[in-house]
């Protein structure tokens, strides 16, 4: 059994041997990934069901589909992205070739997470492979079935040396972080994000950190509440609220709070029935620790809908809390569960102030029929990304970079951004070894009189 260090060294040796340089080899590996998904669909769906009670639909729609789209898109665009990019010349460099040459960084570490254990590990991996790197994968041990499956099947479809999978928990992650990498992409909590960046600093390794935060969802008085609440309910309660870009809490005027509750409730019943526990489409909390944590957030709160849970099956009912006090525990940490707190604010200004006083979130949502409201909210806040009049979807557009800012992270990926994140963009100037006469003016001794500019 190889040590983690040996595994990483082998990946480095394989990279240094030049295996990943030809585009064709990278494409072959990506096609291998595609075959893996096609041929092992059932196993993937099974693992996701075991870990998070995802059903076929959610497995395909929320995870597998994105990875397939990414693979297709990246394979198609790779020749374009990998080509030298000529740049504008200066007067002094008119005779020269000047361009940006994209190169792989070397060995990339991707630390996955448990809520989308397949897509959040493999989607970044697609970009890293396309950019020509070796990739060491460390899936999250909390989603143990998916982690174990990836460890088994990836070596069957991809180069074993270039793309090893490290299994294990905190000790193994700590161990792997001691090794030197050329880029580390981590998805997870702020606390661990700090640890990862600290470890990376020892080797001057650049990092991409996809962290979390409390994603505000401002619901304006002037909006189509039916549509807004349906979309919010969809984005909030998918995967039982365990989505980093889910709307975390609602901000709205007290005069519409009751309607919001009513319409959210209506949508929830349409989606999951009277008893969500019986719905095939409703997920479960990943483990007991998180179950306890999320249940605890309801304590002392005014429950307008839901509020129950079952520890044995780690089921928590879709829950709506009203008149939530901003100081209460549910507003102090990312909920990451099926609880929607509603905090009342009077008007847009108060909402903006509320949001700006807090850590920059990964996503920000605003529902309004008034473009001015949307523009103002976006202009006077910051966040990783924004969707207006819907939730989640900005993170699914391949041409938009996906990432956080401030406490919600640094760096971004998806599509071309992944390729750039995992590449070194090397500035190149190539001159002819001629025309020395023309360059004489630059050499000392400098003229007695300085030329005027």
């Amino acid at each position: 059994m190889d040590t983690i260090s040996e595994v990483v060294q082998r990946a480095r040796a394989a990279f240094n041997a030049g295996k990943t340089r030809p585009l064709q080899c990278r494409v072959q590996q990506l096609e291998g990934l595609r075959r893996l998904i096609r041929e092992r669909e059932k196993d993937l769906v099974g693992a996701l069901a075991a870990d998070l009670r995802k059903n076929e639909w959610t497995a395909y729609y929320e995870e597998i589909m994105y990875v397939l789209e990414e693979i297709d898109y990246v394979i198609k665009k790779l020749p374009e992205w990998a080509a030298d990019e000529p740049v504008e010349k200066t007067p002094q460099t008119q005779q020269d070739e000047s361009y940006i040459h994209s190169e792989p960084l070397g060995v990339v570490l991707i630390i996955g997470t448990w809520n989308y254990p397949f897509s959040l590990t493999i989607q970044p991996m697609v970009g890293a492979i396309a950019a020509g790197n070796a990739v060491v994968l460390k899936p999250s041990e909390l989603s143990e079935n998916t982690a174990s499956l990836l460890a088994t099947i990836l070596p069957q479809y991809l180069d074993k040396d270039l793309y090893p999978v490290i299994s294990g928990g905190v000790p193994e992650t700590t161990e792997v972080l001691k090794e030197r990498f050329d880029h580390i992409l981590y998805t997870g909590s702020t606390g661990v994000g700090r640890i990862v960046m600290m470890a990376a600093a020892k080797h001057l390794t650049p990092v991409t950190l996809g962290l979390g935060g409390k994603n505000p969802c401002y619901v304006d008085k002037d909006c189509d509440l039916d549509v807004a609440c349906r979309r919010i309910a969809w984005g909030k309660f998918m995967n039982s609220g365990q989505v980093c870009v889910a709307p975390d809490y609602i901000l709205c005027d007290p005069s519409i709070q009751n309607q919001v509750v009513e319409k959210l409730t209506k949508s929830l019943k349409e989606f999951y029935g009277e008893d969500a526990k019986k719905s095939r489409d409703y997920g479960r909390i990943i483990n007991s620790l998180h179950f306890q944590r999320v249940m605890g957030l309801m304590e002392g709160q005014k429950v307008a809908y839901g509020g129950t849970g079952d520890a044995t099956s780690r089921y928590i009912a879709p829950t709506i809390l009203v008149d939530v006090d901003p100081q209460s525990p549910v507003m102090q940490e990312e909920v990451f569960g099926p609880i929607m707190p509603i905090v009342c604010v009077r008007g847009l200004e108060e909402a903006i102030q509320f949001i700006s006083q807090r850590e920059k979130p990964l996503a920000l949502y605003v529902f309004s029929l008034n473009d001015k409201v949307i523009k103002k909210l976006i202009a006077e806040t910051s966040s990783g990304g924004v969707t207006a009049n819907d939730v989640i979807v900005h993170s699914t557009v391949p041409s938009l970079p996906y990432g956080g800012v401030g406490g919600s992270g640094m760096g971004s990926y998806h599509g071309k951004k992944s390729f750039e994140t995992f590449s070194h963009r090397r500035s190149c100037l190539v001159r002819p070894l001629l025309n020395e006469e023309a360059l004489r003016a630059r050499y000392p001794p400098s003229p007695a009189k300085m030329p005027r500019h």
């Binding site: 240094n16 076929e56 395909y60 729609y61 589909m65 397939l68 740049v87 200066t90 002094q92 460099t93 000047s98 940006i100 040459h101 960084l105 070397g106 700090r194 960046m197 600290m198 600093a201 020892k202 001057l204 650049p206 962290l211 909006c223 549509v227 989606f271 029935g273 719905s279 489409d281 409703y282 529902f367 029929l369 990783g384 990304g385 924004v386 207006a388 009049n389 819907d390 979807v393 993170s395 699914t396 041409s399 938009l400 970079p401 800012v405 401030g406 640094m410 963009r425 090397r426 500035s427 190149c428 190539v430 001159r431 070894l433 020395e436 050499y443 000392p444 001794p445 400098s446 500019h453």
Partner: protein, 468 residues
């Protein structure tokens, strides 16, 4: 006692007030920078001469003009750079508006080094201000003359509610780094780069680190030695070798070495005269400490050219060393002085292998009449930047990003890259509340029929179509 808390608080409040957001404000700051340069040229030249014995020529080309060009570029392009960048939508979002909004991070810290103390303070500052941030500048305490001008004169030209200069050495900088910034831009050594990144990690602050390394300079047998010698010598001895992108050492065959040595001597004499110490064009070593460090390096290998030094003047002659072992100190650390070791290799492959065994440098140079050789060096190595057949000219092209890789750094800047570095790129999707039927498929309950539709769409790769 926290000497920085009040200043940082003031700058944060100014940022939160939104005053740096309008283009007019940012343009005014940039114009202020421009006036600073124009109205204090002599003062700056004197400071640079005091710090590094920089000639008027070097000050002009490598500090003042280069900064002015960045300011002008930013002023010309500010509004264009600030615009939302529309991006193509996919099938699922074709009815929506998708764009990237460039936003300032907030409070930015720029830590500048001593070797180009004006340029390496102002260039990052241009980017940070253009991007709408409030900025704290920590100039190097080692280049005291320039530090004084930056601390006492520069702030008068900028809005001081949004800009501050803080002073101090390693201890004060450590204290400063305990505070939270929204971005840190550091130029300096890899050793201190690690300290800066670790401090940044505490607050999850993104960083750009412009570090250093030993920049190899491969000289092929197929070239004109005099042309090569002119170019290498010029870029090696510029600023007395204290340049992060200077060619650090030469790799060539023994035959080439024999031809290069007289050519290098000829170039040095032409540039600096028979007595380089009396040339106004040759700089001096920044400090006693660095002078001593460099003087020790003079005893590595054998001195083929130069080798003289004068402690009272912190002067080191333009020097070429031969017969150097890889294990000797001159090949173990970034030289950062007017000393050029020549290492022998027997082939291009051996040169490439030598380079690849070592840390990725900030710059890499290859000289050859054969463009195939140049391209091969480029293809089989990595470095921050690369120039074929010249020294660090690539840095002067604003449309090329300037930065390192691996131990030589992370991130990049210059021109638009500066603006982008100091901006958060916020992904925005604006959707309409209508067309709810289009999105209906995504809602539970997920029927077997819907699943079949989804799978069929995935088959034909029209996944995005009408499902989101």
């Amino acid at each position: 006692m926290d000497p920085f808390a009040d200043t940082l608080q003031r700058l944060r409040e100014a940022f939160d007030s939104g005053c740096t957001r309008p283009a007019e404000f940012r343009a005014a700051q940039l114009k202020g920078l421009s006036r600073f340069l124009q109205e204090n040229k002599q003062l700056l030249q004197e400071a640079l001469a005091q710090d590094l014995h920089k000639s008027a020529f070097e000050s002009e080309v490598s500090e003042i003009s280069i900064s002015q060009n960045e300011i002008n570029l930013a002023l010309r392009n500010l509004r264009a750079w600030m615009k939302d960048e529309k991006v193509p939508t996919n099938l699922a979002t074709q009815l929506d508006s998708a764009f990237i909004r460039k936003e300032p991070f907030g409070l930015v810290l720029v830590i500048a080094p001593w070797n180009y103390p004006l340029n390496l303070s102002l260039e990052p500052l241009v980017g940070a201000l253009a991007a709408g941030n409030c900025v704290v500048l920590k100039p190097s305490e080692i280049s005291k003359g320039t530090e004084k001008v930056l601390a006492e004169v520069l702030p008068r030209y900028l809005d001081q509610s949004c800009f501050a200069v803080v002073l101090g050495g390693p201890q004060e900088t450590g204290q400063l780094l305990e505070h939270k910034f929204d971005y840190i831009f550091f130029t300096g050594s890899p050793r201190v780069g690690k300290v800066v990144m670790a401090a940044a990690a505490e607050h999850l602050t993104p960083v750009t680190l412009e570090l250093g390394g030993k920049n190899p300079c491969y000289v092929d047998d197929n070239c004109d030695p005099q042309t090569v010698a002119n170019r290498v010598a010029f870029f090696r001895y510029f600023n007395a070798g204290q340049t992060c992108v200077a060619p650090d050492y030469i790799l060539c065959s023994p035959e080439m070495q024999a031809r290069l040595l007289p050519a290098l001597q000829s170039a040095i004499t032409r540039f600096y005269g028979e007595d380089p110490q009396s040339s106004p064009d040759l700089g001096r070593i920044i400090s006693e400490k660095n002078f001593q460090r460099l003087r020790c390096l003079l005893s590595c290998g054998r001195v083929a050219i130069g080798g003289q030094s004068d402690e009272s003047d912190r002067y080191i002659a333009p020097t070429v060393l031969v017969g150097v072992q890889e294990t000797e100190p001159v090949m173990q650390e970034e030289i950062f002085g007017p000393i050029l070791p020549i290492m022998n290799v027997r082939s291009l492959d051996e040169a490439i292998e030598f380079i690849r065994r070592r840390e990725k440098p900030l710059a890499l140079y290859a000289f050859s009449n054969s463009s195939q050789v140049v391209k091969q060096v480029l293809a089989q190595t990595s470095s921050g930047g690369f120039c074929g057949n010249d020294g660090f000219m690539h840095m002067t092209v604003a449309s090329l990003p300037f930065g390192g890789v691996g131990a030589s750094g992370m991130g990049s800047y210059h021109g638009k890259f500066s603006f982008d570095t100091f901006s958060h790129h916020r992904a925005c999707l604006l959707r309409r509340p209508g067309l709810e039927k289009v999105y209906a498929l995504r809602y539970p309950p997920h029927t077997p029929r819907n699943l079949r539709v989804l799978l069929a769409a995935m088959e034909t790769r029209s996944c995005g179509c009408a499902l989101l």
